[in-house]
Amino acid sequence: MEQVNVAIVGGGSTGLMAAYYLAKEGVRGIHVFESKYLGFGSTGRCAGGVRSSFASNVHVTLMRESIRNWLRLKEEVEGLEFIQDGYLWLLTTEELVELHRRLAAYQNSLGVPTRMLSAEEVGELVPLARSDVLAALYDPTAGKASPIKFVWAMRKKLMELGVNIHEYTFVRGIRASGGKARSLVVDESNEVRVDDHVLIAAGVWSKELSRDLGVEIPIKKDPHHLLVTDKYSPFLRPLVIHKESGSYVVQHETGSILVGAEFPVPEDDTSLRYGYLRKAVTIMSRYFPQILSAELLRVWVGYYEVTPDHHPIVDVLPGYENVLIATGFSGHGYMMAPIVGEEITSMMLDGRPKLAETNELRLERFDEGKLLKESAIFG
C-alpha cells in the first residue's frame, strides 16, 4: 500500500462509522489504520449504552439523530445489535426530581419523548428493592448495543464494501506541507501518500497526532472502571442509572451484567482498584440485590477522552484543510458514532455538516471561551 484516498486513523466506533458512511457514498480507496485490534481503545471497553437524554441542545439533537442511524444500521448491517430497552434515571432527592422534570420538558421540546415515572411505575418496569427512589426519568428511545458485536459486524460489512482495514498498523505521524496533509508515516518508516482526506479518530491518542501538526487539542484521559458478570436470565431490560452517585447497571442481550460507578483516578493510572468494586456493588445492590449472587468474570479500565466542556471536537484541524478530527467525546463516543460518521462524510464531501449543532463542536470554542454547557437550560 503506497497510496490511499481517505486515511482514517483509529479503528474504533468513530473511525468505523466514518468509513461506513463514506463507502456508502461511493468513496473508494478508504483505509482504516488501527494500531492494535479493532475496538482496542474506548469502544471495546465501554458499556454500550445509547441515549439522547442529555441536557444540552447539541447532545440531545445529535443523539436523537444518532439513534435514528442506530435503528437504520440494525437493518443494514448483519449482526449489529441495538436493543431499544430504554434508560431509567433513578432519582433519590427532591432537587433531582425537580431538575429532571424540567429536563424532560426540555428534551420533549427537542423531540425526545422522555417522561417522569412515579416510584410505583418504576417498580412495574424493573424489579426494584430500595424504597428511597422518589421518581425516575425514563427515556424510551435509549437502548444498548454490544460494542463487541458492533466491531465485528462492522468489520465484516466494511470489508464487503471494499474498505481496507489495517490492524496492528501504527500511524506514527502525519506529514503535511502547504496547509495540507500529504502522507502518513506508518509502523517503522513506511510512507503512505494521502490524496484526499485524513480523519484523526484515535480517541485519547488523537492528542499526539494533532500535536505533531502543531495543534493542541484540549483533551484529558479519564480512566473509568467497568465489570462484567457471567450470563443470567434477563431480569433488567433498561439501563438503570442511580443519578445521585452516577452508578449504573445494564444487562446485555447475552445475559451478562455490567456495573459502572464514578471512581476518579489520576489521568495515567489504569490500575484496577478495589474501591471501584466496593462502590459499584454496594450502591447498585441496594436497588438490585439480585446482582449479589452474580459471579464477577472480569474488571477492566477504559478511557473517556474528556474536553473542558464535556462536548466533543468534530472539526477541520485548523491550518490543514484536508485533515478532520473527531475526538473528546467525554464518554459518549460510541453512542454518537453513527451520527458523527455521517457528519464527517458530509464535511469531507460537501465541505460542511448536515446539522447546525455539529458546527458548534469546532475546536476554536475553547480559545474563544465559548464553551458549551451540558445544563445550559438551567441557567
Partner: protein
Amino acid sequence: MTKILCICEEVTLEEVERVVKEEGIKDMETLKRRLRLGMGPCGGRYCINTLLRLYPQLFGEPARNRSDVELKVPPSRPPTKPVYLYIFKEG
C-alpha cells in the same frame, strides 16, 4: 464429529477454522473477540491453551519459542476465577 474448543461460549474447532479462513483473522486476540473464545467463566483456562497448541495448524506459523506478546495471546483479566459480587458489598 463436532470438536468443541471453548465450552463456555460453545465454540467449535470448525468455526474457528472457518473465521480464520474466510474473515482473514490472523491472531489470537482478534479470534478471541470475534468468537468470544476465553471470555466465559473459565477465563480461558481450557480454550486458550488448546488454541496455542493448534496455533501452527490455524495460522500456518510456528508457536514454539515465541513470546505471548508476539503470539498476541489475550491477557488474563482479573479475577482469575469467577467470584461472587457480594464479597465486595460494604455495610
